[in-house]
């Protein structure tokens, strides 16, 4: 591990002249430049990270997807997920000590923002009723040098997050921000019921948010609603048809509409007279999974804020990836509208995603392990429009019984 860190540092040194000793330009000596788009974006990224990658989303993706499949049988799932995003925003900073140990040319510089989200949860069903719990710890900060960055994100953050994840019901929900760094923790408690024709799930988050979803079993109709900020804001809304098989070999068809908070202003002292502004990205989505067993198509057209082809992606994968796991590689393009208030010109971006999904099945307790690497992921760019060329890594593990 240490060798890898040194290798990363050496690679960096080739790009940036080490004679300048930029390793002396530490975050401790720098201050973010208020009023810049980068500072505003960083604050917004932290808020989005805390709310979107919160317990509700994790519970839906990693817990309820399993309990909904139990169909009246007893069972449950325990899941853990770690998500790390590099270069989410670029923060202009000035270093008051530049010229001493830090090169004077770096008095004004841009430091990238990294963020992580860490989740832990459990869900179970006894007969037709069940419960679920999920917690989240999110953290974001300006990147340090490669060595410190590697130590923090690959070792420190995953370790320290476990305690607050497990004790969230005792320590509560809160968000804290100092300068351009932020920490937040949150949890959700919920109940689920299998009404034979449909599954219902309702959860309440400690930060006074609400999660509700329903999944109709015969056709696959479903709807999901997340309210946050004391039930005043739609954090996510989605409704449609999930994985309907029309013909053998054609794969499973999903059709749905989705609203995601594309942009959200961050209140400043001067803006107290105005609530934060939220603009929803409204999309119509068509997803065809498992064409011929090997190919997926994912297309979304944005209706708002301006009509455009939001994404067009194609993936090839191991046979019957949905059912059996394996390897999956996705590529295509993502389009975003111009958003000058973020310093974003908009346009088309290449998008690449690689997934490895491995399953240890023994009948009593199956273990599912997933690792993903994402570059300009469509959902990431929708949530963080200023995160051009951001790279994310995601790891999860689920034990299903």
């Amino acid at each position: 591990m240490i060798g890898l860190l040194l290798l990363a540092g050496a690679a960096q040194a080739e790009v940036l002249d080490l004679d300048k000793d930029i390793y002396q330009c530490t975050p401790d000596d720098m201050a973010p430049i208020w009023g810049s788009a980068g500072y505003s974006n960083a604050l917004e990224a932290f808020r989005t990270n805390a709310t979107t990658w919160s317990s509700t989303r994790f519970a839906e993706e990693k817990l309820l997807s399993h309990t909904e499949a139990l169909d009246g049988e007893d069972g449950g799932v325990f899941a853990w997920q770690f998500d790390l995003s590099y270069n989410v925003a670029r923060l202009p900073v000035y270093s008051k000590d530049a010229g001493a140990e830090c090169p004077w040319e770096y008095r004004i510089s841009e430091r990238v923002i990294d963020m992580q989200a860490h989740n832990l949860g459990v869900a179970f069903r006894v007969g037709r009723v069940g419960a679920f719990y999920a917690s989240s710890v999110t953290f974001g900060a300006p990147a340090q040098d490669p060595f410190s960055r590697g130590m923090l994100w690959s070792m420190g953050a995953p370790i320290y997050a476990f305690v607050p994840l497990m004790t969230a019901p005792l320590t509560g929900s809160f968000q804290n921000q100092i300068g351009a760094s932020a920490y937040a923790q949150e949890y959700i408690l919920g109940l689920s019921a299998d009404l034979d024709v449909a599954d219902l799930n309702v959860g309440y988050t400690r930060s006074r948010g609400l999660y509700a979803s329903a999944f109709e079993k015969r056709l696959g109709l479903y709807g999901t609603l997340v309210l946050r900020d004391r039930l005043s804001t739609i954090g996510q809304a989605e409704a449609g048809l999930r994985r309907l098989t029309i013909a053998d070999g054609a794969g499973a068809t999903s059709l749905f509409g989705r609203a995601l908070p594309l942009t959200e202003s961050v209140d400043t002292d001067a803006a107290d007279d105005q609530p934060g502004v939220i603009q929803q990205l409204l999309t119509g989505n068509v997803v065809q999974e498992g064409i011929g067993g090997y190919v997926d198509l994912d297309v979304a057209y944005a209706v708002s804020p301006e009509p455009l082809l939001h994404k067009a992606l194609i993936a090839v994968h191991s046979v019957n990836f949905l059912e059996n796991g394996g390897l999956r590689l996705q590529g295509g393009m993502v389009t975003l509208p111009r958003m000058a208030w973020y310093g974003v010109d908009g346009g088309r971006f290449p998008s690449v995603r690689a997934d490895g999904d491995f399953r240890l099945l023994d009948g009593d307790a199956d273990v599912l392990v997933n690792a993903s690497l994402l570059y300009n992921d469509a959902e990431q760019l929708a949530l963080y429009p200023f995160a051009e060329n951001a790279i994310s890594a995601r790891f999860s593990m689920e034990t299903v019984w």
Binding site: L5, I22, G35, Y86, W104, E110, A340
Partner: protein, 122 residues
């Protein structure tokens, strides 16, 4: 974890472009417009007006951080002070934003720092 470690070697720090204080002022106009009006089209339009009616004066500074370019050259203005333009724009009240409207030159009168990095051409 090995992957995370290697990704940590990606660029994390770079000097800013000389036009940065000027560009930030334009973005601040767009952002305050969006914050106060919730109108993305108006926000983008005002940024277009900013680009059409101004030219950026590239920022250069010496080893002490003193600005060496434009109207503020060698007057003791520090490099970071040139961002005061964007900062004060981003602090404008919504009443002020309404009053300034599409008059970009008026927006740029909020701080003396604006004239150090931005030249109004129209």
């Amino acid at each position: 974890m090995m992957l995370l470690t290697l990704l940590s070697g990606c660029a994390w720090l770079a000097p800013v472009d000389g036009d940065s204080p000027c560009e930030e002022a334009g973005y601040a106009i767009a952002r305050r417009t969006f914050d106060c009006t919730a109108d993305p089209e108006l926000s983008n339009d005002r940024h277009d007006r900013f680009l059409e009616s101004t030219e950026c004066i590239p920022l250069t500074f010496d080893e002490s951080g003193v600005v060496t370019s434009g109207p503020g050259a060698n007057q003791g203005v520090l490099a970071e002070d040139t961002y005061h333009c964007a900062f004060l724009i981003s602090e404008l009240s919504c009443e002020a934003v309404d009053a300034l409207g599409d008059d970009i030159a008026a927006w740029l009168e909020v701080s003396n720092a604006c004239e150090y990095v931005i030249e109004v051409t129209k």
